[in-house]
Symmetry: C2
Subunit: 400 residues, 2 copies
């Protein structure tokens, strides 16, 4: 099992020793020991052949993960939010009309960001926990407006929903063929099927601290050729201002392994290792395993009376609502006291949502550990749960 840290927890009298903490949140995630070793290597200079080779391998590996071999994937130092801002400004002309699909915290964030950056934003909403309805989007596009860009979240981390980006993108392409389709793939990259070229997407944004098993600090941006071309002069309107994060200035540099400003060298070297491990293990197998483990977590929760929250679950996080009378923050704290770190709900879902995740480095037995810890937490909070109830449910799913 992975995810063990050195922050002392409890008094050593519990199931988990005093020097172990399991990190089971939907990012930041536990990373492989090989990646930690790479982070601990002496710092290298970025203007060296060795570093440039590493930088180019990372770009190529990410293009492979995106099933777009040979395409540019831009590496940025920053959060996923920073990367989304860079993609938005690079691709969408200043002041353009933008339709933001909102079904959770991150869908809302992109709408707020776009408005702050001067775009004319309208929202298309779905209740948190529900997946966007393809026909509903089609009606909206035929009846009401002609957006120049659409923002979508693939795996909405706040609700655990995996939105059907392939189908939604097809609808946008059919009804608003010129609209650029910008996708937040922060927690879906390397976790769910994601085919920007085949699906006709225009921007895909992701971050390091999720499915590619790295610490936070790197953002990734892929743009379609029409997005690169459209943005070149912003259709005559120019682009919103940016300097450090100007992807157009950066593109030719990155193609030769350089960047305009000093990149986070240690994280890039670690990314080279992490992506190598990922591709060696096989992306399809990893995606299948993440789905299976996430299903096991949802089954463990259901056995405890915690219903799955997402209509269409992402493999990246097992969002579940606590049964009546059990406050989610209490469960999160009970788990933390046992050395198990999960995420609770965000914003309006804080009182009732649990979000354990096996998105990081780990294996099937991490699902067993999490199921056992959930049982323990339930009992810690006074609920009578037969020993093994959640674990049995999880193991049955793992064996399917």
């Amino acid at each position: 099992m992975s995810g063990r840290g050195r922050a002392p927890v409890g008094d050593g009298g519990g199931r988990r020793g005093p020097f172990l903490t399991g990190l089971y949140a939907p990012g930041p995630v536990a990373v492989p020991p090989e990646v930690l070793e790479a982070l601990a290597r002496p710092v290298v200079h970025h203007r060296t052949d060795a570093f440039r080779a590493s930088f180019l391998r990372v770009r190529a590996a990410l293009a492979e993960v995106l099933e777009a071999p040979g395409d540019d994937v831009m590496l940025l130092t920053g959060s996923g939010t920073t990367a989304f801002e860079a993609a938005l400004v690079a691709a969408v002309p200043r002041g353009a009309r933008l339709l933001a699909l909102r079904g959770g915290k991150f869908g809302e964030r992109w709408a707020t960001m776009a408005r702050a950056l001067g775009y004319r934003v309208r929202e298309h909403d779905v209740a948190w926990g529900r997946a966007f309805d393809v026909d509903g989007l089609a009606r909206r596009l035929t009846e009401r407006e002609r957006p120049e860009a659409v923002t979508l979240v693939h795996s909405e981390t706040s609700t655990g929903v995996l939105h059907d980006v392939a189908a939604l993108a097809a609808v946008v392409r059919a009804h608003a063929p010129d609209a650029l389709i910008l996708v937040d793939a922060v927690t879906s990259l390397a976790a769910a099927e994601l085919r920007p070229r085949a699906w006709g997407l225009d921007a895909v944004v992701a971050g390091s601290q999720k499915g590619v098993m790295l610490p936070p600090g790197l953002g990734f941006v892929w743009l379609s050729e029409r997005a690169w071309a459209r943005a070149a002069d912003g259709d005559g309107r120019g682009r919103a201002s940016a300097y450090a994060l100007d992807l157009h200035r950066e593109r030719p540099r990155q193609r030769s392994g350089d960047s305009g400003t000093t990149p986070a060298t240690s994280l890039v070297v670690a990314a080279d290792v992490a992506l190598g491990l990922l591709l060696e293990a096989g992306l399809a197998r990893r995606r299948e395993a993440l789905g299976r483990r996430n299903g096991a977590l949802l089954a463990a929760g259901a056995a405890l009376g915690a219903a799955p929250f997402a209509e269409r679950p992402t493999p990246a996080v097992a969002a579940m609502t606590t049964p009546d009378g059990l406050a989610a923050p209490d469960v999160v704290r009970a788990l933390a006291a046992r050395g198990v770190r999960i995420a609770g709900g965000q914003d309006r879902l804080a009182p009732c949502l649990l979000r354990p995740s096996l998105l990081g480095h780990g294996d099937d037995y991490d699902a067993v550990v999490l199921a056992a810890a959930l049982e323990d937490a339930w009992r810690d909070l006074g609920r009578a749960v037969p020993h093994g109830a959640a674990v049995s449910a999880a193991m049955a799913v793992l064996d399917r």
Copy 2:
């Protein structure tokens, strides 16, 4: 001696073994083993008390380094350039008149950035290698214009000049009292005296991969109270657009150890260690040591006929011009073949400038190694140099 890496160099038949590389560039720099160890610790979640405590310690330590205890120092994930952009946009109202002092590559960069962001920029130039003349700036300000902001570089890494920010800021305060003074302290932080409060500065920007001995990836921003206040409404003009890097949104969050987006947790934990080491060793002693070692490097160069380039040398980098007939890139390559990485000249100075640096983790003996390697490189390139000529000159300075 520090700075040894694992990239194999040469065939093991040289002075340095095949698994060692000395990193002696003015950033990224060699970092202490304690910092590498911290980077290799299991990833922690950012919404935990332990991480928040680390985040707050880093902010407090940086405020101490800036001799502004208790002040906000904002931590950003990104390069020094990203941090400068965040500071500029946060402090200077949209479209304001800005005077950019340019005496090297970084001085030029801030002028270019400000123009790209829509500011009305004028330049005040000095020849590369020269320090800004205080009286010249005073004349410019009295006779010609009333800027609303002035950008300055403290330690100009491209030329090796330490500009007299205290005196220059005093002149700005005297002749343009309302102008905000924005200082690039990327290579001066923790290397040269830097007292933003006492000197009346309004923004200080720095990065992790320099004097504080961390890998690249974090940026730091300090703003004066009048800068925070002025920017709040941009004097009625608003601010240039920014979302992910909006310091105003970020300020209250960071005061409680949080941030709007996921920070580069591993780098923050490492910063906690690095700054602890730095303050424990004593900032004044370290600054004195860096100055002494840099002087030793300049003396070593002079003994080889390489004249100091900077009129007023920074302790962060020993910029020196190669003697006639010796191409700087050849020297850089000869050193690299011996496992010693220094920086050459940037832009127009590429043919003739060498920029070895002991800004990172190291001690006096690193100056001896660099002096010896410079001698070796000279001999590799066919110059007859008495054995020990550069080393003797360096050691004499170290013993002063």
